[in-house]
């Protein structure tokens, strides 16, 4: 993962352990799944099924369907509509999953 373009406004936020593509991370507990991926520096989280181009969360309100990931084995979840939960397993295109 690369350097994140985002940072958290809250100092010392409560942390939540999540697993992204098999690797465990601690992220601020108030993040949505999409926000967590951005926070971890994962901007391109999806490969477009037609062109194979990288895509990233776009609208963050459930309209655009650009942030589809697999959450706890459930495919095609909109990452922007779910909050991170302790132990949540998130898989993105970067792990070979293309939800």
């Amino acid at each position: 993962m690369t350097d994140s373009l985002f940072s958290c406004l809250i100092k010392d936020p409560a942390q939540c352990p999540i697993v992204v593509n098999g690797v465990e991370y601690q992220v601020p507990a108030q993040l949505s799944v999409a926000a967590a991926l951005l926070y971890l520096g994962d901007l391109a989280i999806r490969k477009h099924p037609i062109s194979g181009e990288s895509r990233a969360p776009f609208c963050h309100m459930g309209v655009c369907f650009e942030c589809l990931v697999s959450i706890d084995g459930q495919h095609k979840r909109r990452a922007c509509l779910h909050q991170v939960m302790p132990g949540m397993c998130i898989d993105t295109a970067m792990a070979g999953v293309n939800p």
Partner: protein, 461 residues
């Protein structure tokens, strides 16, 4: 098991909350279904949980929603958050609404229905807008409200009050705004001048708007009259190019947030067969709505930004009016007090709509944005470019629905929400006819994706 309600409200934003408060106070059995995890809509998103530091950055207009939110939470109505509505249709008892709640599909039946599901951002189809590193300004604000997440540095591009507000909030939080590319056409200012009269009827809003604009112009690298923005970069965003005062410029950046106003979410009303009208002023389709929110379908109301874009306060006013009207339908003997409140809300709603005319004229989207460049991906889901759409439209295709069959544009997961308006503009331009004559994309269920397992567990439809 089917649950039967007197009034089902879709959306827990200012309009939905206000309507639910009124209707439940009057003793109706009310249910509010909302997609988000907590009430407030996009404008008051996460207001109930937000920390002091975030609240300070988000400002007074955001915190102004607290009394409404508190009243709603105390109201005697059922409230179901995290409900993803996927189907809605007429039913012998009124309407049937089907939503996914915790992964299970649940059917609700109601005699009367209010659509207060709000707005979305007007898609700003510029070249490269599909690349990682491009987001909407609304997305930026949602990240701030729900996740307390901020970009380190960002380019803001487009036009409209939300973009200015976001710039203000970002500056307050210490975000570096690399550039503010204002696409408001200069001619808009001339068209807006006569509407200052309307703007002065809501002086607070007017002065706030002027102040917000002036501050951003002074405190950010603010470039006016920007056109032909193009996002640069191979895989992810590395920069942005644009034209200003006849000259081409290029700046490097990794993150750009776009905005050019809001459009109503009309899909639910369309699915129920509500008459749609093209609004020349707001440049979008709207569900035809009467003073108290009534639509062309009996028993169905629309309130707030889901009808006409007006902002939080207008939405609250209209939601309240819709709720009171529903609660008193069929009751001839309205108390004098209720009658006066109704009259006042009607007049206030009309006046606020009129005042909004100033914002609509000033921030009317620039014409170049309705004619995306050839290689711009207009339908993001199906990867269809502007030139492919224009090529089919030029052959005389009947409209966007036929165009969908030829190109797959509008057939993807977002169900045409991100491309529908731009398809219509492109068809209108190619066929040299007004966009008002191009019919919107037909809406079909499911409005939200549902998998076969969930569908098979659905008890009855």
């Amino acid at each position: 098991m089917n649950k039967i309600y007197d009034y089902l409200v879709i959306g827990a934003g200012p309009a939905g909350m206000a309507a639910a408060i009124e209707a439940s106070n009057a003793g109706l059995r009310v249910l509010v279904l909302d997609q988000a995890a907590s009430a407030g809509g996009q404008i008051y998103r996460n207001l109930g949980q937000v920390g002091d530091h975030q609240a300070k950055v988000l400002g007074a207009d955001y915190l102004a929603g607290k009394p409404l939110l508190a009243q709603f939470m105390a109201a005697n109505c059922d409230y179901q958050p995290m409900a993803q509505l996927w189907h809605i249709e007429a039913h012998e008892k009124g309407f049937m609404v089907v939503a996914l709640v915790r992964g299970e599909s649940i059917t609700y039946v109601t005699s009367h229905l209010l659509l207060a599901n709000g707005a979305m951002e007007r898609p700003m189809a510029i070249a490269g807008w599909h690349k990682p590193g491009v987001m909407t300004a609304g997305a930026g604000q949602i990240l701030l409200k729900t996740s307390a997440l901020l970009p380190k540095r960002v380019v803001l591009a487009g036009s409209g009050p939300l973009l200015l507000l976001l710039a203000q909030q970002y500056r307050a939080a210490g975000v570096t705004i690399t550039a503010f590319l204002d696409t408001t056409p200069k001619s808009n200012y001339w068209h807006a001048i006569p509407w200052l009269v309307a703007g002065f009827t809501t002086p607070n809003q007017l002065f706030k708007g002027v102040w917000l604009t002036l501050v951003q112009r002074i405190k950010t690298p603010y470039i006016t009259g920007v056109s032909h923005i193009e996002v640069l970069g191979e895989e992810c965003v590395t920069g942005v190019s644009y034209t200003a005062a006849g000259k081409a410029y290029e700046i490097s950046c990794n993150l750009i947030m776009l905005h050019q106003g809001l459009i109503p979410e009309t899909q639910m009303g369309q699915l129920l067969g509500c008459a749609q009208v093209w609004s020349e002023t707001q440049q979008c389709w709207q569900t035809q709505v009467g003073v108290a929110g009534q639509t062309s379908v009996p028993g169905l109301q629309v309130a707030g930004d889901a009808g006409t874009i007006g902002g939080a306060y207008v939405a609250q006013t209209k939601g309240r009016l819709a709720g009171i009207t529903r609660a008193n339908s069929g009751v001839a003997a309205l108390s004098l007090r209720k009658r006066l409140i109704t009259l006042w809300l009607c007049l206030r709603g009309k006046q606020l709509n009129w005042a909004r005319g100033l914002v609509d004229r000033l921030y009317r989207p620039a014409h170049w944005l309705s004619e995306p460049a050839q290689d711009t991906i207009v339908c993001r889901c199906e990867q269809v470019t502007a030139s492919a759409i224009t090529a089919i439209a030029s052959t005389g295709c009947a409209g966007v629905n036929q165009l969908k069959g030829f190109t797959r544009a509008g057939m993807g997961a977002c169900q045409g929400r991100q491309c529908g308006l731009n398809l219509a503009y492109l068809v209108a331009h190619a066929q040299n006819r007004p966009v008002s004559e191009v019919e919107p994309l037909t809406v079909r269920p499911p409005l939200n994706p549902i998998n076969l397992g969930q569908l098979s567990r659905q008890a009855e439809l």
